[in-house]
Structure formats: structure tokens, C-alpha cells
């Protein structure tokens, strides 16, 4: 097995022990990218030179004992909606196709000061709007388990890059499931932390009240270590929350005895794929065997989460995306007669159709006469959903269910039926509406060989509960590599 099969923490340990160098690892990852990008298209931008320079300087600092973070020197990928100083940040949109930020997002800076080596910027649904990574202006990303399928979205590139071993870990962002659903489709692990845990400063906003950055990696331990590194209280983000429990790795304990886990009855009925259900129930059995108390319960209002989410998210997006107008940065349409026409043409040409759909929807629900009927009602619904979860957490340490109702669909199937695509977010969306932490861990593959994800949802600030349960579950199985990664790995060995 090659060095790319290691987890991020294993790689980091070998770097610190000087058994391997950050430069060697970076070169290996860049070779894998070189080999597989044509097939999977995980990246919008690969920064070979920058990565090798970082690797060299990080290795020096590790040798000198300046950098001690367990992730120091480990090559990784950043979703292309997080600003990286001097490195193009596009949100996979034509309108930002030439945008080079003058500053880095806080999550990225936190990683960089820990010694992360950034290989490049990973592909995503345009402005994180989509569940397939097909709405990217630079073409879709393919699922490494089957190149005819989508990797999920919107952090599809970040998940594919990890699954195909083009990097050891990555950052994603999750507004309605954008870390967890592609993690599930790609057979990797991803965490969406409690809202306010990771600074949003420098994350190009889709829906401000729902967006949260989180880690994607091969296993729970890596995710906990990454989350520990990127989390911080940030005065530049007014929604950032001061916590004193960023030591998420302390929850990597193999013990679920007496943990109370609830499964919403509605999460196992309509629309749930039979094979997905079987695997979820198998995982439940394992947790029970290990001492967890698992039972079904009625979580109310499950059906209202999707409409409430699409109203709130679209409303915020319609405003957040208005700054992209061709005036200050990014794409500007040519040959326009006046300001109004410049705005119109720039935005018509610069945005893709899914983004336009949500801007129009969001503008509509905020317009006078409709604001009360849609936006205010959605906010009320959100509050009621939050109450339902609060009630559940009085009884349970966490909520369990599938991450997505199906495994990865075929390419170009989803965008034909956007409403159906939106319904695929049913299990992930409430988590964002309520600001909760959740994790998706692989729990097997269906008969087509596509991965299935198990989702554990915790109460606010209770990442440690879900990390511990996911870690314990993970101990009962081994990480499954996709064939593409294996082949890629063999070639350069």
C-alpha cells in the first residue's frame, strides 16, 4: 500500500517522526491528482508550486520543533468557496472565475498556522447551491466509486479528493447537508459542527444563518483532529461562539455503553431506499450490541424542514449574492450601454441556472406582500423544528438516521428534477436550521457498490457525543477504499 492510503493523522505522525517528508507526501498527492483529475475532476485549481513551497517550509518548521500540530505537513484540499490569499477562489462560478482574494478565511488560516499544505481548491456546486456538484461552471465532479455517478454536493470535490486519495483530508462547507451528503455518497467521513464553532470569516456566504465549515476525511479520528484545529472563537465573525471544549479528539473513545440514541420514525419510511435502510439498521444493531440504547420515536414537523430551508436559504442567498455585480471584482460583461445593462448582463452571463433559480426564489419570498406569508412563516417553522429537536434531546444523547435517502444518483439525472433533488436533503437540512452538529460515517455499500452514510446528530455543542459514537461504530469495520484510488495508488508505487 502506498503512502496515500494513510489517514491524515498517520501521515502527520510519520512526518513528525521524519520517516517521511511533507514534500514527498505532497509530490505523491500531486501525482495522484495528475493521474485522476481527468476522471474525477475534484479540483478547480491545483496549486503545485504553492503546495511544494508550503511543504518545504512546513517540514523545516516541523524539524525545528516550531510546528507540532498532528496535521503539520499533511496535504489537503480546500473547497473553492473559502478565500485563500493569492489563490484563485471561484465558488465554481463564472462570475468569480478570475477572483483572487486579498485575504484568507479564518478556517484556512487556522489550518495554515498548524502547518497544513494546501494542494488546491476543490470543485463544488456553484455557490454551494446543489446536491450533485453538477452546477459547477467548470464542469461536474465524478464519483470515484463509479464515474457515471455524481459525488453528491455541494462539497463534491472535497469528498471526491479524499475518496480518490488525491489528498488526505479536505474542508467542506455545509448549508443543508453539503458536507454530509457527499461524504455519504463518496464513502468518507464528514462533520458539520455546531453553528458558530468554525469562523465563517472568509467563507463566501450562501446562506449566512446556516453555513458552517467542517472537515472531511477518511475516518472519525482525522475529522476530530481537523475540527479541533479549525475551530476558534473569532471576533471578526459576530455569529462565532466562544467555547472551551475545542478538544474534540478527547472524544475518540471506544465506548457507547448506555448512550441513548433515538431514531425518528419518519427517517425510516417514505422515500428511503431499501438497501440504505438495511445498512442503517445493521449499524443500529452493532451500536446496540456495544451497549447503546437505541429506540424509535416521533420527531414532528420532518416534512416542513425542506420548504422552510429553501425559503430561508434562498432569501439570504438572494441578498448575499447581490455583491457580485461586475463593479468591484470578478466577471464583468462586455459591451454594455449603461449601469443597469451592465448589472443585468453580468449577472445573466455570470450565474448558472440553479443559482438564478434560487436568487429569483429568494427575491420573491422577501418582496413586499410576500415577506410575511413566506419568509416570516419559514422562520416560525424553523423555530418550531428547533423546539421539536430540543424535546428529542431531552430524551436522547443523539439522533440516528441515514445521511441521504439513496446512494449517489447517475450524472445528469438530478438537475432535470430540482424538486426531487431538494427532497434528497430531507435528513440533513433540519440540522442546519437548528444549528446542530452532525456527522456522516460510511456504513457499507449497496449492491451497485455505492457507499452509504450513517448520520448521527447531536444537540448543540455536543460534537463529542457523536464523535464518540461514530468512533466506536467505526472500530467495528475497516475503511473501504474505492477501486479508482487503489488503481491510482498501484500505478505510482
Amino acid at each position: 500500500m502506498g503512502m496515500l492510503t494513510m489517514t491524515a493523522l498517520e501521515a502527520g505522525r510519520l512526518i513528525r517522526e521524519r520517516q517521511i517528508s511533507a514534500v514527498e507526501l505532497t509530490k505523491a498527492a500531486l501525482q495522484q491528482i495528475d493521474r485522476l483529475e481527468d476522471k474525477v475532476h475534484s479540483f478547480v485549481t491545483v496549486d503545485d508550486k504553492g503546495a511544494l513551497n508550503q511543504a518545504e517550509s512546513v517540514q523545516k518548521q516541523v524539524n525545528e520543533g516550531i510546528l507540532t500540530n498532528p496535521l503539520a505537513g499533511v496535504p489537503m484540499a480546500v473547497k473553492d468557496n473559502m478565500c485563500t490569499q493569492g489563490l484563485k477562489t471561484t465558488c465554481s462560478s463564472k462570475i468569480l472565475s478570475n477572483f483572487v482574494p486579498s485575504y484568507s478565511s479564518v478556517a484556512v488560516s487556522n489550518l495554515q498556522s498548524a502547518g497544513a499544505v494546501i494542494l488546491g481548491k476543490s470543485n463544488m456546486d456553484e455557490f454551494a447551491m446543489g446536491s450533485t456538484t453538477e452546477t459547477s461552471a467548470f464542469g461536474p465532479t465524478m464519483n470515484p466509486w463509479n464515474l457515471e455517478n455524481v459525488p453528491g454536493g455541494s462539497s463534491g470535490g472535497s469528498c471526491t479528493a479524499v475518496a480518490s486519495e488525491e489528498c488526505f483530508y479536505s474542508l467542506g462547507s455545509d448549508t443543508g447537508g453539503s458536507i454530509r451528503q457527499p461524504s455519504s455518497f463518496c464513502g468518507v467521513t464528514g462533520i458539520k459542527p455546531t453553528y458558530g464553532t468554525v469562523s465563517r470569516y472568509g467563507l463566501i456566504a450562501y446562506a449566512s444563518s446556516l453555513d458552517q465549515i467542517g472537515p472531511i476525511a477518511k475516518d472519525v479520528s482525522d475529522c476530530a483532529a481537523i475540527l479541533e484545529t479549525i475551530s476558534s472563537y473569532d471576533v471578526k465573525d459576530s455569529t462565532s461562539i466562544k467555547r472551551n471544549d475545542y478538544d474534540f479528539t478527547s472524544a475518540l473513545v471506544d465506548d457507547v455503553k448506555d448512550m441513548k440514541i433515538g431514531i425518528p420514525r419518519d427517517y425510516l419510511t417514505d422515500g428511503l431506499d431499501k438497501e440504505v435502510k438495511e445498512h442503517i439498521l445493521k449499524a443500529v444493531e452493532i451500536l446496540r450490541e456495544r451497549g447503546a440504547i437505541v429506540e424509535e420515536f416521533d420527531l414532528s414537523l420532518v416534512d416542513y424542514a425542506i420548504p422552510a430551508y429553501y425559503i430561508i436559504a434562498s432569501a439570504e442567498a438572494s441578498s448575499n449574492l447581490s455583491r457580485f455585480d461586475g463593479v468591484k471584482y470578478g466577471y464583468r460583461a462586455k459591451d454594455t450601454a449603461d449601469l443597469h445593462q451592465m448589472y443585468k448582463k453580468t449577472r445573466s452571463e455570470g450565474f448558472g441556472s440553479e443559482v438564478k433559480r434560487r436568487i429569483i426564489l429568494g427575491s420573491f419570498v422577501l418582496s413586499s406582500g410576500y415577506y410575511e406569508a413566506y419568509y416570516i412563516k419559514a422562520l416560525k417553522t424553523k423555530a418550531l423544528i428547533k423546539e421539536a429537536f430540543n424535546k428529542a434531546f431531552q430524551k436522547y444523547d443523539m439522533i440516528l438516521g441515514p445521511t441521504a435517502p439513496t446512494t449517489a444518483p447517475k450524472l445528469s439525472e438530478s438537475l432535470k428534477e430540482p424538486l426531487k433533488m431538494y427532497l434528497g436533503d430531507i435528513y440533513t437540512i433540519s440540522v442546519n436550521l437548528c444549528g446542530l452538529p452532525a456527522i456522516s460515517v460510511p456504513c457499507g455499500n449497496d449492491s451497485k457498490g455505492l457507499p452509504i452514510g450513517l448520520q448521527l446528530i447531536g444537540d448543540c455543542f455536543k460534537e463529542k457525543n457523536i464523535i464518540r459514537a461514530a468512533f466506536s461504530y467505526e472500530q467495528t469495520r475497516s475503511y473501504k477504499r474505492c477501486k479508482l484510488a487503489q488503481k491510482g495508488g498501484e500505478k505510482h508505487e
Partner: protein, 476 residues
């Protein structure tokens, strides 16, 4: 005009707050810097940047609200006002619609001895926009984002005013309150105070309001006054002609004394307001309000009362001195050095005002130190200089803030009070003017004045006229 009309006026006043930094970032809020040097990712709307509220803005807004007798909204929020324009880098303005920080206030105004209360509907906090510069020569537009994110409060009055005089009195009242609080310098010309006038007319006795228009671009009290008169006449003329007043926003051109329609209600934009998700709601506790109240400086009415009791200067003086915080500040600082209230107020009201007018300066341009004014008064009291010389020295203090004692020494302006020296000068003058001496002795006492004048002339004004008088009398 057969019918009688009354004017109904409400004001929207924007005031730029005197904070060191902008409302949502750490950039300097200072006026007049080189274009785009007071900018950062936040105030230029860069992707991924986030606003962080400047606490001082809340404190100033609360202070103004308390001084205007407002209810403070203890749980208040910011909202986004969405509209596209290049001076607005995010294409939304962070403002307050649903829960403004202050509501239900009032201020007292006085016009021609009649008192009136003007209601304050609300005061809300918001960010200013950048500045567009249209370069006709190059046929392009440039943007300066230095002003983008400078904190503003908007004070919205009830439609309680009915004349230009009342509007001016109201604005003056607001200006004084805000200046005294130190929340803004409130300069209309520089745009740190801006007023939009909402005006309608109706027949006297009518219950319903007429259709109102909103007038913008009013850069001085005079312009406001002219615009109000102009708009009243325009609306009455329309009504008299049987035409309708259209609800619209109009732009006043003070050079042409005429207004132009900017946009009507029909094409008014839908701002799609919604709560700003990047900022947390603000909770203003009772303790916080109490602290702001406790730290609130003395306002004009309190000062007026105190001046009367403590200094006993005339009401006329009090009104002039307290009409600008700068004057009151100099007055008090000078008193702290030399306790001569009336003498100080005289200098400030007479010579100071004359020099301001002659040099076309504003009160804010006064830059002399109270210590030097106090020094000048000290010199007069010591009998070192006379009033004529004192005026000359005051002008130097006003212009160059000189130390009067050093100046007197340097220029040799000390009064010659050495009687021996004076006596010999006067003896010579009497000898040179025998005719006058004779006139005096023959009963023409006016001659004495001439002889004193001759002495002062000879002494180049540096003699104490009292002593000169005494010696002349003796020698005669």
C-alpha cells in the same frame, strides 16, 4: 389664492457619528483622506467578509435617543435593505427597519416665542455609502469607498412642523443636542448632517393629510428654507389648478431655486428588507442605559440654567455662548483659569464674533487656547495694557494663538506707568501747547482732553489714560 392652506412637514435627518472607526470594521471614519485608503474587505464588500458592530455607535445612538426623550429598544436588530448601486459595495445597506434602536421621542422648539413639541418617530443606526465621482472628461465613474461604512443615525420626526422656521428651529435643536453629546459635529455643508424634507399641504381644517413629496439635496439651512417655501407654493399651485400632487422624491437645486422629480412611488424600489443574519441581535441592558445616561455630558438647557446661577451673566450672553458647544467649552475653560465670566463672554461675543465674520470662519474653526484669553484678561486687570492694545492682542491670539504676555514684552506694548517719566513728557507737551493751557485756564475745559490725547499719541497708546489725566490736572 382663495383658499387657506397649511403646510405639514416631517424630517428625516441623517447624522454621521463621530466615531474613530467605521460601524462594521476597524477602518478610520475620518473625513477627507486620499480616496480608498480607509478601506478593507468589509467596507468594500469583498466576498466572505463579515460585519462586526462598533459598540460606540450603539452608545451614541442611545445617548441621542435619551436626550430626545425616546424609548430605547432594548432588544434591537439590524436589517438588510437591498438595492443595487455602485456606491453600495454589497448592494445592500445594513440598516434598521423592524426594531430601530430608539422610538417615540420628542424635542421642544421655540419660534417667535411660541413653544412647540416635535415628535420623534424613531432613530435608527445604519451605514453610509461610498462616494461616486463621475468623470465627464474620461467618460467613466470612479468610486471612493472611504465613506462606505461610516456610521449614521437617521432621526425620523413625526409630521409635526408647519413652516420653514419651525424646521430650522428643530434642526438647530437636534444639532445642539448632538454636538453637546459629542456624537457628531453636525456640519450640513460637509454632509455630516443631512436632512430630507417630507412635505404636504392641505386646506386649513382638513382632517386628511395631503399627498407628500420628499425633498433631497438640501445642503444648508438657507437651502432648506427656500426649498420648503418653493415646494409649498408648487403644491398649492397644482391643487389650485385642479391637478394632483404626485407622491415622489424630488431633488432641490438651490442655484436655480427649483426642484426636479427623481422618482415617483410607482417606480419606488422594493428593498426586500430582512433581518441581517451576519449580526446578532443587540441587547441593551438597563445597566448599560444607566451608564450612558450617567456619562452624558451637560446639555444646553442645563448649561443655561447653571450659567445663570453660577456666573450671573445676562440671558443674552448665555444664549449666545451656549448656542455652540465650542463657545461654551472655551468659556468654561477660560473661567477655570480666571474667574471673570462677563469679561470672558464679552470677548467671545464681540471681538471673537467680529473676527469670525470678517474672516468668513465657522465657530468650529476657533483654535485659540483658553489660557491665552485668560492671560489677556489678566494683563488688562494688572493694568499692563489698555483696551485698544488688548483688542490688537486678541486678534493675534485669535489668528496665531500667541501668548499675550510674551507678545507684549516682545513688542514693548507695556503701559508706561512710571509717573516720573510721564510727568516729564506731559511737562514738555504743556510747554509746546501754551494756547491750550491758556484755554483751559480761561474755562474751556475741553482743552484738557486735547492735552491728554496729545500725551497718549506721544506714548503710542502705552500709557494708562487714568494716570495721564491725573498728572495733566496736577500740572495745569
Amino acid at each position: 389664492m382663495s383658499k387657506q392652506y397649511e403646510t405639514v412637514i416631517g424630517l428625516e435627518v441623517h447624522v454621521e457619528l463621530a466615531t474613530k472607526t467605521k460601524i462594521f470594521c476597524g477602518c478610520s471614519a475620518k473625513f477627507g483622506a486620499v480616496s480608498n485608503t480607509h478601506t478593507c474587505p468589509v467596507c468594500t464588500g469583498m466576498p466572505g467578509s463579515l460585519p462586526v458592530l462598533n459598540k460606540q455607535v450603539v452608545e451614541y445612538a442611545v445617548a441621542v435617543g435619551l436626550a430626545c426623550d425616546c424609548d430605547i429598544t432594548q432588544y434591537c436588530k439590524f436589517d438588510r435593505k437591498n438595492y443595487f448601486y455602485p456606491d453600495n459595495p454589497q448592494n445592500y445597506q445594513i440598516s434598521q427597519l423592524y426594531l430601530p434602536i430608539c422610538r417615540n421621542g420628542k424635542v421642544e422648539i421655540e419660534v417667535d416665542g411660541r413653544k412647540k413639541t416635535v415628535g420623534i418617530h424613531e432613530i435608527h443606526m445604519e451605514e453610509d455609502a461610498g462616494k461616486l465621482i463621475h468623470d465627464e472628461w474620461e467618460d467613466c465613474s470612479l468610486i471612493d469607498y472611504n465613506r462606505s461604512g461610516v456610521p449614521l443615525i437617521e432621526i425620523v420626526s413625526e409630521p409635526d412642523m408647519s413652516s420653514a422656521e419651525e424646521v430650522i428651529a428643530y434642526l438647530d435643536k437636534l444639532r445642539l443636542i448632538i454636538q453637546y453629546l459629542g456624537a457628531s459635529d453636525c456640519k450640513l455643508q460637509e454632509g455630516s448632517m443631512r436632512a430630507d424634507v417630507n412635505l404636504s399641504v392641505r386646506e386649513i381644517g382638513a382632517k386628511e393629510f395631503g399627498t407628500r413629496t420628499e425633498m433631497k439635496n438640501l445642503n444648508s439651512f438657507k437651502a432648506i428654507s427656500r426649498a420648503i417655501k418653493g415646494e409649498r407654493e408648487r403644491q398649492i399651485a397644482l391643487i389650485e389648478d385642479g391637478k394632483k400632487v404626485i407622491q415622489e422624491t424630488r431633488r432641490w437645486d438651490d442655484n436655480k431655486e427649483h426642484s426636479y422629480a427623481m422618482r415617483s412611488k410607482e417606480d419606488a424600489q422594493d428593498y426586500r428588507y430582512f433581518p441581517e443574519p451576519d449580526l446578532m441581535p443587540i441587547y441593551i441592558s438597563d445597566e448599560w442605559i444607566a451608564r450612558i445616561k450617567a456619562e452624558q455630558p451637560e446639555l444646553r438647557t442645563e448649561k443655561q440654567r447653571r450659567y445663570k446661577e453660577e456666573y450671573g451673566i445676562p440671558e443674552y450672553d448665555i444664549n449666545i455662548i451656549t448656542n455652540a458647544k465650542v463657545l461654551a467649552d472655551i468659556f468654561e475653560a477660560t473661567i477655570a483659569i480666571i474667574n471673570r465670566p462677563k469679561e470672558i463672554s464679552n470677548w467671545l461675543m464681540v471681538e471673537n464674533m467680529r473676527l469670525l465674520n470678517e474672516n468668513h470662519l465657522e465657530l468650529e474653526d476657533i483654535h485659540f487656547s483658553p489660557a491665552n484669553l485668560a492671560g489677556l484678561i489678566q494683563l488688562i486687570e494688572e493694568g499692563c495694557i489698555n483696551r485698544t492694545v488688548a483688542k490688537e492682542i486678541f486678534e493675534e491670539i485669535f489668528k496665531h494663538d500667541i501668548d499675550p504676555r510674551a507678545y507684549v514684552e516682545e513688542k514693548g506694548l507695556n503701559l508706561v506707568n512710571n509717573e516720573g517719566e510721564l510727568r516729564s513728557v506731559i511737562e514738555r507737551i504743556l510747554a509746546d501747547n501754551p494756547k491750550s493751557v491758556e484755554d483751559y485756564h480761561s474755562g474751556k475745559t475741553k482743552a484738557m482732553g486735547f492735552l491728554v490725547g496729545q500725551t497718549m499719541k506721544k506714548m503710542k497708546g502705552k500709557a494708562d489714560p487714568g494716570i495721564v489725566n491725573k498728572i495733566v490736572m496736577e500740572l495745569l
